[in-house]
Amino acid sequence: MDMNARNDWVQLCQIDEIPLLGSRLVERADGNIAVFRSAAETVFALLDRCPHKGGPLSQGIVHGTAVTCPLHSWQIDLSTGQALAPDVGCARHFPVKVESGFVFLALN
């Protein structure tokens, strides 16, 4: 995905407002977005829909750089949105960045 200036960055929150190894939900008419924070302080954003049966990924357990969907335990790679093998599928991922402790999300 193009990470250049064309992105429309929206400021979300301070990074501490997302629990470590947890996530927060961004509500949006075109589908909610889940914003995750890993133990290594990396922030990721995925469409809050598991490619399997639409489960809310934001409610899953975060481990390493993956999240386990709460409905049927598919594991989704946070950086790409791809399901981990042997499952196949992809949740859309969105660019995020952290600057001076604030988290920004790009929607287009």
Partner: protein, 810 residues
């Protein structure tokens, strides 16, 4: 980091399995070179028999196509034999003149068939049965020749003989011993097997010693002569009299060998840079010739090659299955018995069924089944676990379905199921799909099957059936899943070890547990984290801190997630008793939040379904009731009948007893959910017989039952004790539940825990020992003391961010 060079000698199942395990845990550590004698990629040697029998083609049994090697970046040298290992310069020399340096070397050269040192062994048409080349020779010979002699009535010999017969040859099996498969079967079963193979057209010469193989002028085999003087004509002789570990290369390089390359529990040879796995090794004096141990070795070896250094291979239990379609036999352990052992035998020669179980010191130590092997997997499990049989002994011969340990009724016989029959009701997986996945993807373990097919990955009630299907499909290569297996892929350790370490080393945090126990992943996974969280909290109440991020969403949000992402809310109604004021508030909440469904639960409570997450806290606040814990691995509810207060049959105040128990156990976390029931008389309207703790009032007191289960597998609770007073009910029930909390593995229900430790043990801890009982009860009360109701805590502001969206974007 610069990549190290790993060279693998041997492109077979053991070597490549090790590479697969290694790539899974350390994909970037090595440049890998694989040498293989055969001009083929890794194929499933076990399935040569079906190829010979014409049931599968070679392409069906390839495990790793060439493209797999390319994709994994492996330098594959097919049809290229290694001629020398140069340990001083750390290089391997191949017969094509090439030379590859190594930092680590893995020897997986397998075994070579033993060729009888008799005259004529080198004639054309005398072959062994080891690889696809031999198989193809047999298939080709069968098209033009008539008489085949197979020397050796072991597994391999019989499979070869059966295949050749199916290909149209007249086959005679020559065997030294008095009966077939003498290392796998006792005499009775061996004779039954012989009969049924004779019916298929095979001929046998038992007790004969082969003296010479005779040839014609063209140097082709023509006959076989025996010590007894008999001679039979032969156009093809297959020698299947055993295998020898292939140690020539290792020995020439000065690596210590003794009937195999001698390796440590880490699969390391005497040269620390050189590892060895598979049929070429000798581990603790044993060289294994079946495939299941190879896989266990591969896993451990990969762990050490990845420099994690924590796995140990401790040897394997073996079971045997003959891959001849239509013949069912199974054997494992010491099936011949001996001093101090007892035999249970079921023999129906006319029906072609024979079963023998060997029991010693109340444990199953061996099994030999012929004709009906449905329960082979179960017996093998009992054998490996070394479980005390106890009451099981009376029923063990009649199989698992008979002791109610299989699950869904009528689904216990994998053999008899059609491909279209559903195995996993949760995920809609049929037997055919599972069998196909096992064959196509080369699966050998329950975990593999779960991952690829989803069968048994949800409720788990079909696990036994899936294991049976695995066993039936892959035979002796089936890898049984031991109960003591590692918690998950993040660790080598099992539940018992983890729990022990947390207790003995007073580990109080997730971090200290992962560090101390050398977890492979930085912060666990969705399988181990909730388990660790429970072990920390239950072992160190009031000291260890709960980690909400290590809890499944239901326990984090204190409500049950539904398929559409909404939640269900079940307020506490102790003993199923409510009142007008509570019902009014529930009704008001249902209106105010437009709850789509209000439903009465099986646990005598009321469920509000379809609540949005952001409404949860205000719903709880408006309800003004406590959490019913209907979402957790925790106390759920105590179901009651109306008892003596209203019922004309009631003998005690069962309703009040239920309320008291639910009050005592409020906010209790446990390895899995815990349900109780109290009935006021033996009519048992509260269905106490299928609860973790069931209490039934009788005129003279209370009867306590434990380990019942009404869910996945219906299990009838077992009688624990009869007591006189209400106080005793609370003490005994509390003590049992605390024992379960302290000793059960995470996600074991009480029935599983009791099955593991035995009812006698529970009785001894809870009934016989009053001091221990009181201490357990005390520890339970201490653990629960002062715990806040989770809903009330969240109304006050705890975990606020969990329930509020970060931002709303228009």
């Amino acid at each position: 980091m610069k990549k190290l060079n790993l060279v693998i000698i041997g492109n077979g199942m053991a070597g490549i399995r090790t590479v697969e395990e290694l790539l899974a845990i350390a994909p970037d550590m090595y440049n890998i070179t694989v040498f293989g004698n055969e001009p083929h990629p890794n194929y499933n040697r076990i399935l040569l028999s079906p190829v010979l029998a014409g049931e599968q083609a070679f392409k069906d049994i390839v495990l790793n196509p060439v493209s797999w090697y390319t994709k994994a970046g492996i330098d594959l040298r097919m049809g290229c034999a290694v001629s020398r290992i140069d340990r001083v310069n750390r290089q391997v020399h191949a017969d094509d003149g090439s030379c590859v340096p190594y930092d680590r070397l893995l020897i997986a050269t397998g075994s070579t068939p033993f060729i009888l040192p008799i005259p004529g062994k080198d004639l054309t048409g005398v072959i062994s049965y080891r690889d696809i080349h031999d198989t193809e020779t047999m298939i080709a010979t069968a098209q033009v020749k008539k008489n085949a002699v197979v020397i050796g009535g072991g597994l391999l010999g019989l499979e070869a003989a059966n295949g050749l017969r199916l290909r149209g040859m007249d086959v005679t099996v020559v065997h030294l011993a008095d009966w077939l498969l003498e290392r796998q079967l006792d005499k009775t079963a061996g004779k039954l097997l012989q009969q049924s193979l004779e019916q298929r057209g095979l001929q046998f010469m038992l007790g004969e010693i082969t003296e010479a193989i005779l040839g014609n002028d063209a140097g082709e085999v023509s006959a076989v002569r025996f010590k007894s003087g008999k001679t039979i004509s032969a156009d093809l002789v297959v020698m299947a009299v055993g295998i020898r570990p292939n140690v020539a290369l290792a020995e020439a390089a000065g690596i210590y060998c003794n009937r195999g390359i001698v390796v440590s529990d880490a699969l390391q040879t005497y040269d620390p840079r050189i590892y060895a796995v598979g049929e070429c090794v000798s581990h603790r004096g044993i060289a294994y010739g079946l495939v299941a141990p190879l896989f266990e070795q591969a896993k451990v070896c990969a762990n050490h090659l990845a420099q994690m250094g924590i796995g140990r291979y401790l040897g394997s239990f073996l079971s045997t299955k003959l891959k001849v379609t239509g013949i069912d036999l199974f054997s494992a352990g010491n099936f011949m018995g001996g001093p101090g052992s007892e035999e249970i035998i079921l023999s129906d020669p006319a029906g072609g069924v024979y079963k023998k179980l060997i029991i010693k010191d109340d444990q199953l130590i061996g099994a030999c089944l012929y004709g009906d092997t449905t329960d082979g997997g179960w017996y093998f499990k009992l054998l490996k676990e070394g479980r005390k049989l106890g009451e099981l002994r009376d029923h063990i011969m009649f199989g698992e379905s008979n002791v109610g340990d299989v699950g869904v009724q009528g689904h216990s016989r994998a053999n008899q199921m059609q491909d279209s029959d559903e195995v996993c009701g949760c995920n809609g997986v049929c037997k055919g799909t599972i069998v196909k996945a096992i064959k196509d993807q080369g699966l050998f373990t329950l975990d593999d099957v779960k991952k690829h097919t989803k069968a048994s990955s949800s409720c788990g009630s079909c696990t036994g059936l899936v294991e049976q299907i695995l066993l039936n499909t892959v035979g002796s290569s089936f890898q049984e899943t031991p109960k003591t297996k590692a918690i998950c892929g993040c660790t080598e350790r099992n539940h018992g070890e983890v729990r022990k370490a947390i207790r003995e080393h007073k580990l109080l945090t997730h971090r200290s547990a992962y560090d101390f126990l050398e977890w492979r992943t930085p912060n666990g996974c969705a399988t181990c984290r909730p388990a660790i969280n429970y072990y920390l909290l239950s072992t160190w109440p009031h000291e260890a801190l709960d980690d909400p991020q290590s809890r499944f969403i239901n326990e984090r949000a204190h409500a049950n997630i539904q398929k559409d992402g909404t939640f269900s809310v079940i307020p506490q109604m102790k003993g199923g008793v409510t009142n007008a004021s509570e019902l009014r508030r529930i009704a008001d909440v249902a209106d105010k939040y437009q709850i789509p469904m209000v439903k009465v639960t099986g646990g005598q409570r009321i469920d509000l379904l379809g609540v949005k997450k952001e409404d949860l806290v205000s719903v709880w606040s408006d309800l003004g009731m406590n959490s019913g814990h209907a979402y957790g691995k925790s106390i759920r509810t105590v179901k009651t009948c109306v008892g003596i207060e209203f019922c004309r049959f009631g003998t005690q105040n069962s309703t009040q007893m239920g309320i008291d128990l639910e009050t005592m156990l409020a906010n209790m976390w446990s390895p899995h959910k815990v349900k109780l029931a109290v009935s006021g008389c033996p009519r048992n309207c509260a269905e106490a017989g299928i609860k973790d703790v069931g209490v039934i009032a009788v005129d003279s007191g209370w009867e306590l039952y434990i380990g019942g289960n009404g869910g996945i597998k219906t299990e009838v609770a077992q009688f624990l004790v009869k007591v006189k007073t209400a106080e005793e009910v609370k003490e005994y029930a509390g003590a049992f539940l605390q024992l379960y909390r302290e000793e059960a593995y995470y996600l074991d229900r009480t029935v599983h825990y009791i099955a593991r430790v035995g009812l006698d043990y529970i009785k001894q801890r809870i009934v016989s020992d009053a001091i221990q009982r009181k201490a357990l009860h005390e520890r339970l009360l201490y653990a629960l003391e002062g715990l806040p109701d989770p809903w009330a805590a969240r109304i006050k502001g705890a975990q606020r961010q969990e329930f509020i969206p970060l931002k709303v974007i228009a």
